[in-house]
C-alpha cells in the first residue's frame, strides 16, 4: 500500500529509540483506535469486523463509535463463527479488500486455526505467489479476576511456529498505533496480540499517521549486565525489575522485539554480545513458547557471547487457574525477573 510505504519511509527518517520531542500523551486504547480510524479514513478497502466492535463498549474502547463514523458496512459485528469469519476475511482480501478481524480474546482464535494455519498462512505460497492475503487478525489477551483457563490464553507461542504469518505484539501506545498501521498496509496475514493490561498505559503518540516497520526491535533500556528480551506486557514488568535492580547496581538492557515474526535477531544478538547474559520474559507458557525460540536462536547464533545459562521467565505450564492465589503463582512478573537476573549474574564466567 502506497500510503504506508510513505509512512514507513518517513518513520525511518525520524525515529530514534523513542520519539524524544513528542509531547502528546494518549492511552494505548486511544492509540489503537487512532490507527483504525486513520486507516478507515485513508483507504476504502479497509473494513473492521468482530464480535462487538460496534457495541456500546467498543471493544474496550479501541473501536468505539467507528461504526458511526464509517458506516455499518465498514465496521460491523459478527456472528460467533470464528473459523468461517476468518475464511470470509481471507476471501474478501483476495478480492482487494483489507479486513481487520478483531477478537476480545486470543482463546477464540483456537476455533479459527484451520483458516489461519491451513489457509491464510499458505495461500500465497501454495499458489506460487499469484495472490496474497492482506488480513489483520487482532486479539486482546485477558488477565485476572478469575478469567480462568479459557479466557486468558496468550497463544503467541503457537503462531510463532507457523510460517507465512506475521506476528506483532506492541507494548507501548506508540508502537500499537504504528504497528497496526503497518499490519493493515502489509500484504500478508498478520496476527496482532495485545495485552489488556497494556491498555492502562499512556505514552507519547504522534497525532498523525506513521508506520513502524516489521522486524525492527527497540532497546527499551540500555544496560550492560544482562539482556532481557521482553514481550508485550512483560516489557512493563521488566522495566520495573530494572529499576529495582539498578538500585543494587545491576544494569539490565531491555530489548522489545515488537514483532515476533519477523524477529529482529540482530538487536538481540548485539545486546547479548555486550552483556553475555540472556533472559527472555514472555506472557505465555514456557514450554515450546516464544522464549524457547529466542533462547534457541541465541544458542545457535550467539553461543560464543553467552557467559551463563539462558533463562526463561514465563507462565507456568498449566491451564490458568481462576483463584487469585493461584493466579499469582501462575503469572511471572517483576519478582521473577529480578531473581532470575540475580541468579544469572551469580554464575561465574568461564
Amino acid at each position: 500500500m502506497d500510503w504506508s510505504k510513505n509512512l514507513i519511509e518517513e518513520y525511518e527518517l525520524n525515529s530514534g529509540i523513542d520519539i524524544a520531542n513528542e509531547t502528546r500523551k494518549v492511552s494505548y486504547t486511544v492509540a489503537v483506535r487512532e490507527a483504525l480510524d486513520y486507516a478507515l479514513a485513508e483507504d476504502e478497502s479497509i473494513f473492521v469486523m468482530g464480535q462487538g466492535v460496534d457495541d456500546p463498549s467498543g471493544m474496550f474502547g479501541i473501536t468505539l463509535d467507528l461504526d458511526k463514523k464509517y458506516g455499518s458496512h465498514r465496521v460491523f459485528d459478527t456472528p460467533l463463527s470464528e473459523n468461517a469469519l476468518t475464511g470470509i476475511a481471507i476471501g474478501a482480501s483476495l478480492t482487494g479488500m483489507r479486513p481487520v478481524y478483531m477478537h476480545n480474546r486470543p482463546d477464540f482464535l483456537l476455533m479459527a486455526m484451520d483458516q489461519i494455519v491451513n489457509h491464510a498462512s499458505k495461500w500465497s505460497y501454495m499458489f506460487g505467489g499469484h495472490i496474497s492475503v492482506p488480513i489483520v487478525i487482532h486479539a486482546t489477551v485477558g488477565r485476572g479476576w478469575g478469567g480462568a483457563a479459557q479466557h486468558t490464553q496468550t497463544l503467541q507461542g503457537l503462531f510463532m511456529h507457523v510460517p507465512g504469518l506475521h506476528l506483532v505484539m506492541p507494548s507501548t501506545p506508540f508502537d500499537a498505533k504504528g504497528l497496526i498501521l503497518s499490519a493493515i498496509a502489509d500484504n500478508n496475514p498478520t496476527i496482532i496480540i495485545e495485552h489488556r493490561w497494556l491498555y492502562r498505559q499512556s505514552g507519547h503518540v504522534p497525532e498523525g499517521p506513521y508506520a513502524i516497520p516489521f522486524g525492527r526491535g527497540v532497546v527499551r533500556r540500555i544496560g550492560k549486565d544482562v539482556t532481557i528480551v521482553a514481550i508485550s506486557y512483560m516489557v512493563v514488568e521488566a522495566m520495573q525489575a530494572a529499576e529495582e535492580l539498578s538500585a543494587e547496581g545491576i544494569n539490565v538492557e531491555i530489548i522489545d522485539p515488537r514483532t515476533l515474526k519477523p524477529l529482529d535477531e540482530e538487536i538481540i544478538l548485539q545486546s547479548v554480545q555486550k552483556t553475555g547474559r540472556l533472559i527472555i520474559a514472555d506472557t505465555g507458557w514456557k514450554t515450546g513458547g516464544v522464549g524457547a525460540e529466542i533462547a534457541a536462536m541465541v544458542a545457535e547464533k550467539g553461543f560464543e557471547y553467552l557467559k551463563a545459562p539462558v533463562k526463561r521467565v514465563a507462565s507456568l505450564d498449566i491451564p490458568t487457574p481462576a483463584c487469585y492465589v493461584l493466579e499469582d503463582r501462575f503469572y511471572a512478573g517483576k519478582a521473577n525477573i529480578v531473581s532470575c537476573c540475580k541468579e544469572i549474574l551469580s554464575v561465574n564466567t568461564y
Partner: protein, 334 residues
Amino acid sequence: MTDSVEFESSMMSVPDKTLLGLYWTMLRIRKVQLKIAEHYHEDEMHTPVHLCIGQEAIAAGVCANLRTEDYVFSNHRGHGHYLAKGGDLNALIAELHNKEKGCSRGRGGSMHLIDTSVGLLGSSSIVGGGVPIATGAALGAVLRKSDQVSVAFLGDAATEEGIVFESISFAVLKQLPVIFVCENNFYAVYTPLNKRQSHDDIYRHFEGLSIPCFRVDGNNVLETYSIAQEAIERARSGDGPSFLECRTYRMTDHHGGESGVEVGYRTQAEVDHWSAKCPVECYERFLIEKRVLSFEDVKVVGDQIDSEIESAFEYARSSPLPDGDGVLRYVMAE
C-alpha cells in the same frame, strides 16, 4: 409472544409435588442469583459472574425430568443448571469465592462448575464448546448400554458455531440420547440476535437434519417441563435426540448484576416487557391462584431458602483459599 405466561394447558398431567418442586428450584436459583448480585460489588468473588435471572424456568423445567445419573453440560451462564441438576450450593458459593472447597477447588470460578456426583460433568466458557462434549456423553451412555440421557445447555449465539451443527448432525446419525436445550435470550453480550442470524426461529436451523425441533416458551416452566419430558423420554427409549429452542430473556446484564439498560444496547421498555413475564413471579401467582401454594407457603419456602443461602455464603467466606503450593496439582490425572 403474548405479554403473560399461560400455564393452564401444560398443567394437567403434572402432580402437585412436581409443581411445587419446580417452584422451589426456580425460586432457589433466583434467590441465589440475587444474593450474588447483592454482594458482587464487594469484590470478594473474583470471578466473572453471568447471572441467569429471568431464565430460571429452563434449567428447572428440563432438569426436573432428569435422574441423578443423567448428564448435564453447562456454559458460562451455568448457576441455574448447576442448582437444578442438584449441585451442592455450598460448593457453588465457595467456588465463586475462589475457595479450595469450591466445586472446582477454586481452579474454575463461576464459568466452570462441576458436580460429578449429580451428573454435571462440566461447563465450558467457550461458546458452543460444551455441546459436542454433551453429545459424547450420550455416545458413552449408548456404548455402555445404560439408559442415561445427556443434556447440553447452550445460548442462542452458540448455534452460530459450526461445532453445534456438527454435534447435532452426529447425534441424529447415531440416534444418541442427547437433548440440545438452547436458551434463546436474544443477545450475545450486547449484540442482538438480528445482527447475527437471519431470523430468530432458532429451532428451524436444524430441522433439515431430521432432528425433532421445538419452540418452547422458556419463561413457562410447565411448558418447558412437559416438552422436555417428551424429549427426554424419547431419548431414553432409544428414539434419538431433540432440539429445544426456549425463548427467554436475561433480566440482568451479560455480566454482573446490573440491568444493562444504562449501557444503551437495550431499552427499558424491552426489559419491562419481559419483566411482566417473569418466570418465577408468574408461576408463583399461578400456583397461588390454583391453590397449590398458599401465601404462607411462599413465605416459609422463601425463608428456608434464604437461610440456606445465608449459610452457604458463610461457609464460603470462612473456608480457606487454595494453597499456592498446590498450583500445579490437577493438570494431569494419575
